[in-house]
């Protein structure tokens, strides 16, 4: 059974850390380079991110992700190098194309921030089960219904994809053309819609009934199967993250 998550199971401290702490880290690690647009600070954020990923033993996954984004980053360099409004100093001339220094530097800053965002997001995404993030949020007071919708979508969508495959197979065996050029393939999806939509409406109602008889609408206080890890450590880490943010803001104001 496929689940749409990039989570890499592990037993490191980063895996066990409160998901909301990781979410806070993500927000701050993205914000700092914008508040303090100094390449050295972005670099520091980047290195901290790499260090945490190494600690969580998931660095190899990020390298793969970064490799995938190279194409995108090259586009930034080409476009900014050629067309950045502040371009004045030609740096590199390739035939008819002139790349300017200002644009390339700007592209570097943007790319660096982008990579930093990817690294920081990876800390959260690669080491946290989505369901744990959601249940931490429910503990802190988001509505259990919203929590349910978020976590079930992650599981039920792949399930619908499986259903679609099954219906498609059945239709193929009855002679429906599902291969070939784009037009025939698109056409093949139309007969799929009926059973899929009707099927999921029926399933939705049945699932709603099944949830209902498992006290989904209970109004009392809920409890949680998973124990939350040590509060004090989390609080200390949260405090450090927030302190870093405040220091950056102060630095920005006085420099």
């Amino acid at each position: 059974m496929k689940v749409y998550t990039l989570y890499v199971p592990g037993k490191t401290y980063i895996h066990k850390m409160n998901p909301l702490t990781k979410l806070l880290y993500l927000a701050v690690a993205i914000a700092i380079p914008f508040i303090a647009p100094d390449p050295a600070i972005t670099m520091a954020c980047f290195l901290i991110g790499i260090f945490i990923l190494g600690w969580a033993k998931v660095l190899h996954r990020v390298i793969y992700l970064l490799a995938m984004s190279i194409l995108f980053i090259s586009t930034i360099f080409i476009i900014q190098g050629l067309y950045y409004p502040g371009n004045t100093t030609p740096y590199l001339i390739l035939g008819k194309l002139t790349f300017y220094k200002e644009g390339l530097i700007h592209a570097m800053v943007i790319s660096f921030r982008l990579v930093n965002i990817m690294i920081s997001a990876s800390v959260l995404v690669l080491t946290t089960r989505p369901s744990d993030l959601i249940s931490s949020a429910v503990r802190r007071g988001i509505s259990p219904r919203l929590g349910y919708v978020m976590s079930s979508v992650l599981q039920i969508i792949p399930q619908m994809a499986t259903t679609a495959d099954t219906i498609m197979d059945a239709q193929k065996s009855r002679g429906l053309e599902t291969e070939g050029n784009l037009k025939t393939r698109l056409k093949a999806y139309i007969p799929l819609l009926g059973p899929l939509v009707l099927g999921s409406l029926v399933s939705a109602q049945e699932r709603a009934m099944a949830l209902e008889v498992r006290a989904f609408n209970a109004t009392g206080k809920r409890t949680f199967l998973q124990n939350e890890e040590d509060y004090t450590v989390s609080k200390a880490i949260n405090a450090i993250i927030i302190l870093a943010l405040i220091l950056t803001i102060i630095w920005r104001i006085y420099s």
């Binding site: 349910y148 699932r207 008889v213 498992r214 006290a215 209970a218 109004t219 009392g220 409890t223 199967l225």
Partner: protein
């Protein structure tokens, strides 16, 4: 009296006819009741009324009353009723919450909702997984189970809420023969434990074997409510278990003049 249904009627909003009309019966603690009737005769509607989905979930006009352990279902929220009466539906797949990643956690769904303390939760989860023979699957994703396993998980999830009554609405109609066997082993456990069970089922051999009484519905009305032998003996319109049909064909009634409905009762008649 565990269940008291008094002149129950129900019409779904938009429905042309009443799905149920004038239903009155009672069920005692520990009884096993089979529910039969043709398609659209109102079996599932009755099941919904017994667990409070009618009137709390389905819109429509309800008449009469349903009392579960003395509680009037119209005045008791489902979240409370579900700790008195549980229900398992046909489709195993649609009973998986989709919010939990493992079988073990899936069982916790209802327990978290009712706010059960964590230590009791663990105790109950382990107990029901063991009871229905799915403890070895506890770390699997619920969606990766077979139909029979999923249906036993659904039963485990309901039983973890510790109801004293369980309604089973065609729990095996979407399963393969192996799955049917597995689920019936679990149903036998409910009977052994002395729970009050109401089973909707088309497979009459199973109904006859387990039921103390059978409730026969016809067009939303209660046609008959009696022992399996009398139900199958006096309603020629319904498909009787093969044992009954064989003994009727051979003209081999029991001493009381009725035809047997189970294999156990048939063997001595055919031997003798």
């Amino acid at each position: 009296m565990k269940i008291k249904v008094d002149n129950l009627g129900f019409r779904y909003t938009g429905g042309k006819e009443r799905a149920l009309e004038g239903i009155t019966f009672t069920v005692n603690q520990g009884e096993f009741i089979g529910i039969m009737g043709k398609n659209k005769s109102g079996k599932s509607t009755l099941a919904s009324a017994l667990v409070g989905l009618i009137p709390h979930f389905f819109k429509g006009a309800m008449r009469g009353n349903v009392y579960i352990d003395g509680l009037d279902t119209q005045e008791t929220p489902i979240a409370e009723l579900c700790q008195k009466v549980g229900i398992v539906f046909q489709n195993p797949f649609n009973q998986i919450s989709g919010a939990k990643l493992t079988v073990y956690e899936e069982v916790s769904f209802g327990l978290e909702n009712i706010g059960l303390p964590r230590n009791q939760m663990i105790e109950r989860i382990e107990e029901v997984l063991e009871l229905f023979g799915i403890a070895h699957l506890k770390d699997r994703n619920p969606f990766s189970l077979s139909g029979g396993q999923m249906q036993r998980l659904a039963l485990a999830c309901i039983m973890a809420l510790r109801p004293e009554i369980v309604v089973l609405d065609e729990p095996t109609s979407q399963l393969d023969p192996l799955g049917v066997e597995e689920v019936y082993k679990s149903i036998a456990k409910l009977k052994e434990k002395g729970l009050t069970v109401l089973l909707i089922e088309h497979k009459t051999e199973y109904l006859a074997e387990y039921s103390d009484k059978i409730l026969l519905l016809e067009n939303g009305k209660l046609k008959n409510y009696d022992t399996p032998e009398r139900i199958f003996g006096t309603n020629p319109g319904i498909q009787a278990p093969v044992y009954t049909q064989v003994c009727q064909a051979l003209n081999k009634p029991k001493e009381n003049g009725l035809y047997p409905v189970t294999l156990k009762d048939t063997i001595p008649l055919l031997k003798g």
